[in-house]
């Protein structure tokens, strides 16, 4: 026994049992002590498992399986020993072997091949527990090879006299089918026969369970079995069985609406009568998700949902909310009816319930009530724990953003809501708020004055700079204030806010956005001073003149407010840009930024130098002008003025939203070989892309301040050493050159698009109409075909991506299975015979052939029965004219492209649909 690396007699005699091992592990503290104990035990096991004594081997394998299953120890090296033990005459050892196999074997293991014969032997064992072991093992480690080789044995067990074996064989079938779809041809009839096994509930439950799984993957093939399921729905009193049958009908009803009429009342009966909550809930779920066209059924279901909602059991309340969520898309009234419960659930102790309630609240949001609901939710957010608070904010943000702000009509309100969110202490959605602030700025022109006002509010509050979560939002505020500074009533104040000392709390990336904004403000300020009545300023006066109604009234309020704040109430707009003010601003800029010119962060350093360059130049010229007031007239000719004009031209073009597909339009440079294999990425990332395209239906802006600005500035900074003027013209050129990749504006062909307004210089004056148009069009979008979108390419692309997903859902195997099912159900005997495994394996025993012969006989018997059944119902069909009329159309829809046979097939099947 000893010798070599094998175990000694001592090993066998004093072998630790599994209990000893477990005790040992428990004695050692987790950590180093325990793992060294485990590795010591592993060494023992390695020796013991080689023993010729099957008791020793079995104990070793037991211990190893334990360590594998609960401590994650690799045991692939012992696979052969497990196979060896499965053939032991001792039941205990056999069981140990099978347990090890089913817990540890990988589908790719070579050693699996060795198991086939043992599995076959045990499947046909007279001892039902041995067969159970084999079935259990097979159900976990089944491979296509196993499934192919063992199908006949499982087939035999499907009509076993022992119920305990039959139900397990049925449960095991699912795995066999999925690995080897041809097994369906052999086993399907017997599986169907088991639907009639009224003698044993568990067998029936297992059978229905298998059909439920099969139908969830590809329901179409199981429609002919509807009468059988219907009978079970009527007869069975077992909740488990009924639940599964309901699930099957939920799948079938989607394909065969006539079924619904037959079952819906039956389901309602169950719903009314059953005591079991599980069954009631399943009825509710079936009704609201598949039979929602039947008003009376939905009403009943909603009553039940309400009972769930008011129950003291949290599980039922949770499910009640889920039920409501399922009703919501088709019957929003049900949610509105239970509004109070839902809102109350927002403050439930259970996070799950809160989340479901939140989802429901979000499902109620429409353009009428979004203001009200958001107010309520903000209130809840303030009261909630940080995690849920952020959950609320996140769903508000995503709901409002849906379909590019479809439900938002009053953008001024929405922008101030965003600012309000920013001020919520736990807010961690800075990134999304930042995105939306900028996105709205680019898309919705009319809201820009309000946006600047809101941005100012955030910028001037020094307290906000202390909270890292808000930094991203501040970055958006700074960008907005710089980009749309022309709407500001007091640029000086904005400049002060951008340069306040506490900005040193910001991370460099955001600080550089601040500094770039000072650049924009400064150039605007200088422009207004040096070149009054031109460019920006004129557009400002346009703005003031043309919109006396809507926007102006608000901005005037703001105007006076700021005036009070700066205690210069007598001034009007023009007077802001006095020489003194300009000098002050230049001094402010230079004193605040000079220290930063030596910053370690290159981004900051570069931008600071840009600003300083401009400011110092202007300071020189303007302050020397200051002494000789008569020369003021010439300020148009100053060097600064020329530069400012250039800069202003560069900055004056608006950014617009950019299509996702913009990058695709960039021509591939010569010499760049695009890796073709990348196309595989598509399938890998398909779901990722889908989620993106669903939630952001249109576009994302190119100009997030962090990366967008750095792009435009890189260009800028490369040249900054020579002169700012040159750099600005380069920037202007860059924008011109790449303007192609911004969303098309009016001169483009898609003039009817909804969002170019933000980007459209020609329509600068129709802001109000733009907004109206935008909201109108985005509402219309729901009904209009996608071609009305600004970028049909984008939309098409998104839909194209959706296709492969739906196709992917039924994978190849499911198709094979359902194909086989159809063949079997429709009595395609030829294919049944040809695919019979016995045809392939000629050396099979006599008895097996017999079994199969009798089976085919059985088949044809059943088929003729079906036909008779069919005739009877055909008579019935004559009577019910209505349903017949319907059937014509439906059938055409269901007919497969591959024609002839299928048509005949359908005819044969029709009667069955009608029950």
């Amino acid at each position: 026994m000893s010798g070599g690396g094998g175990p000694s007699l001592m090993d066998s005699l004093f072998q630790r049992t599994l209990d000893d091992l477990i005790k040992g592990i428990r004695l050692h503290l987790p950590g180093a002590a325990q793992s060294s104990f485990i590795s010591k035990s592993l060494d023992e096991i390695r020796r013991e498992i080689k023993s010729t004594d099957s008791q020793t081997k079995s104990t070793a394998l037991q211990k190893l399986t334990y360590l594998h299953s609960l401590h994650g120890i690799d045991m692939s090296w012992a696979a052969f020993h497990a196979v060896e033990l499965t053939s032991s005459p001792s039941f205990l050892h056999k069981k140990t072997g099978y347990l090890a196999a089913s817990l540890s074997f990988r589908p790719s293991m070579d050693v699996l091949l060795l198991l086939t014969n043992q599995l076959r032997k045990d499947l046909s064992s007279t001892n039902q527990h041995e067969a159970s072991l084999a079935l259990e093992c097979l159900s976990v480690i089944c491979t296509p090879d196993f499934a192919r080789d063992l199908t006949p044995d499982i087939f035999t067990l499907l009509s076993s006299g022992k119920n305990s074996i039959r139900k397990k064989a049925i449960a095991c079938l699912l795995m066999v089918f999925s690995q080897y779809p041809d097994a369906v041809r052999v086993c399907f009839k017997r599986l169907v026969d088991n639907l009639e096994s009224a003698d044993n509930v568990q067998t029936l439950a297992a059978t229905v369970g298998v059909f439920c799984e099969l139908a969830s993957k590809e329901p179409r093939s199981y429609i002919p079995l509807a009468p059988e399921f219907y009978r079970i729905l009527v007869d069975s009193r077992n909740n488990w069985v009924l639940i599964k049958v309901l699930k099957i009908f939920a799948h079938l009803a989607k394909l065969e609406p006539r079924l619904a009429k037959k079952v819906v009342e039956l389901i309602c009966d169950h719903m009314k009568q059953s005591e079991a909550k599980s069954l009631v809930f399943e009825c509710v779920r079936t009704i609201v998700s598949s039979f929602y066209e039947y008003e009376f059924a939905v009403k009943l279901a909603v009553v039940k949902i309400r009972e769930f909602l008011l129950d003291s059991d949290l599980n039922l309340r949770y499910l009640g909310l889920q039920g409501l969520l399922l009703v919501a898309p088709n019957h929003l009234w049900a949610v509105l009816e239970n509004k109070e419960v839902v809102i109350k659930s927002l403050s439930d102790v259970d996070r799950n319930i809160k989340l479901e309630a939140l989802r429901l609240v979000m499902s109620m949001v429409s353009d009428d009530n979004v203001v009200e609901i958001c107010r309520v939710l903000i209130g809840y957010a303030l009261k909630s724990d940080p995690e849920f608070c952020n959950e609320i904010l996140r769903s508000m943000l995503s709901t409002c953003y849906r379909n590019v702000y479809e439900i938002i009509i009053d953008f001024d309100w929405y922008v101030s809501l965003l600012a309000e969110m920013a001020r919520i202490p736990h807010c961690q959605n800075g990134e999304e708020i930042e995105f939306q602030l900028i996105d709205i700025g680019m898309r919705v022109k009319a809201v820009r004055p309000e946006l600047v006002r809101v941005g100012r509010g955030l910028l001037i509050d020094p307290a906000l700079l202390g909270s890292p979560f808000i930094h991203r939002i501040l970055s958006a505020a700074a960008w907005v204030s710089g980009e749309y500074v022309k709407f500001s009533r007091n640029p000086f104040e904005i400049m002060e806010a951008l340069l306040q000392p506490r900005t040193n709390l910001l991370p460099p990336s955001i600080r550089s956005v601040y500094i770039h904004s000072t650049f924009k403000v400064l150039s605007f300020f200088l422009h207004s001073f040096l070149l009054p009545g031109k460019g920006v300023n004129s557009s400002l006066s346009n703005f003031v003149d043309i919109e006396p109604g809507f926007t102006y009234s608000e901005s005037e309020q703001e105007f006076t407010e700021i005036d009070h704040a700066t205690s210069s109430s007598g001034l009007n707009k023009r007077d802001t840009f006095t020489q003194e003010a300009v000098v002050n601003m230049l001094t402010l800029v230079i004193t605040s930024l000079t220290p930063l010119a030596e910053s370690h962060d290159v981004e900051i350093q570069e931008r600071v130098r840009n600003v300083l360059g401009l400011a110092q130049l202007a300071q020189q010229e303007i302050s020397c002008n200051h002494d000789q007031k008569e020369k003021m007239v010439d300020k148009v000719d100053l060097k600064t003025s020329i530069i400012i004009r250039l800069i202003n031209d560069a900055l004056s073009e608006d950014f617009g939203p950019v299509s996702f597909s913009a990058q695709e339009r960039v021509p591939v440079p010569n010499g760049l070989v695009l890796e073709e294999n990348l196309s595989k990425l598509d399938s890998l990332c398909a779901d990722v892309q889908l989620s993106i395209s669903e939630s952001f239906s249109l576009v994302k802006p190119i100009l997030l301040p962090t990366d967008g600005d750095s792009i435009s500035n890189q260009q800028n900074e490369e040249e900054s050493e020579t002169s700012p003027a040159e750099s600005m013209s380069l920037l202007a050129e860059h924008r011109k050159r790449h303007g192609l990749f911004y969303l098309p504006s009016d001169h483009n062909k898609n003039a009817s698009s909804s969002f170019p307004p933000a980007n459209d210089p020609n329509q600068r004056d129709n802001d109000v109409e733009d907004l109206v148009k935008l909201t109108e069009e985005s509402l219309v979008l729901k009904r209009k075909p996608s071609s009305s979108r600004p970028r049909p390419v984008v939309v098409k692309l998104d839909e194209g991506e959706r296709l492969p997903i739906t196709v992917k859902k039924t994978d190849e195997n499911d198709d094979l299975i359902s194909g086989a099912v159809r063949d079997v159900l429709l009595g395609n005997e030829a294919s049944l015979r040809s695919s019979n495994p016995s045809g392939r394996r000629k050396g099979e025993s006599h008895s097996k052939d017999k079994v199969e012969n009798s089976e085919t006989g059985n088949l044809s018997k059943r088929r003729s029965k079906h036909r008779n059944h069919g005739k009877n119902v055909e008579d019935k069909e004559e009577n019910s004219e209505k349903s017949k009329k319907k059937s014509g159309g439906r059938h055409k829809a269901r007919r497969r492209a591959d024609g002839g046979i299928d048509v005949a097939v359908q005819k044969q099947v029709i009667p069955d649909f009608l029950l």
């Binding site: 001892n127 119920n163 095991c172 102790v349």
Partner: protein, 165 residues
């Protein structure tokens, strides 16, 4: 179908791990860690359902605490949440019957037996038995078989007790 049945204690130590579709053992451990992370952060007396994306978007997780143990079942939308809760009750009842007021130590020291019980209730992710007395009966047979290593015992077919639940 049922994707996994897991029992862990309140320290996060696994006591029973059974996956019905193949998962490498490292992945199993990772899943268990994630689940424990979620469960131990949940307050007492809250609902027993957790939305779980471990196996894909449609899977759910039901758990129940018994003394120091979490019983966890992961399943997809072919199962009913409340029925799974019933199933867990059956499982625990069966354990109770087999060990007499089951506690964590029973499960720790009866690794094989607990697996046998589970295999009688669930096979291949499908529920095959909902009656704890049937499971106990089968278990008794199996135990008898295990104790008589050399004699093949013909187990009489059990006929009685097929009442619906």
């Amino acid at each position: 179908m049922i994707r996994a049945v897991i029992v862990i204690n309140d320290q996060g130590k696994p006591r029973l791990v059974k996956f019905y579709d193949y998962q490498p053992v490292e992945k199993q451990q990772e899943i268990i860690r994630n689940i424990y992370g979620v469960l131990c952060s949940r307050a007492e007396n809250v609902s027993n359902f957790v939305q779980d994306s471990t196996f894909g978007p449609d899977t759910r997780l039901v758990y129940k605490t018994f003394a120091t143990l979490y019983f966890i079942v992961i399943f997809d939308d072919s199962e009913n949440e409340l029925a799974i809760l019933d199933l867990m009750q059956v499982f625990v009842e069966t354990l109770d019957k087999c060990f007499g007021n089951v506690c964590e130590l029973d499960i720790v020291f009866n690794f094989n037996k607990v697996h046998t019980i589970l295999d009688e209730i669930i096979l291949g992710g499908q529920v095959v038995e909902m009656s704890s007395s049937e499971v106990v009966k089968a278990l008794d047979d199996i135990t008898r078989l295990e104790k008589n290593p050399n004699s093949i015992v013909r187990v009489p077919k059990s006929i009685s007790g097929w009442q619906g639940r």
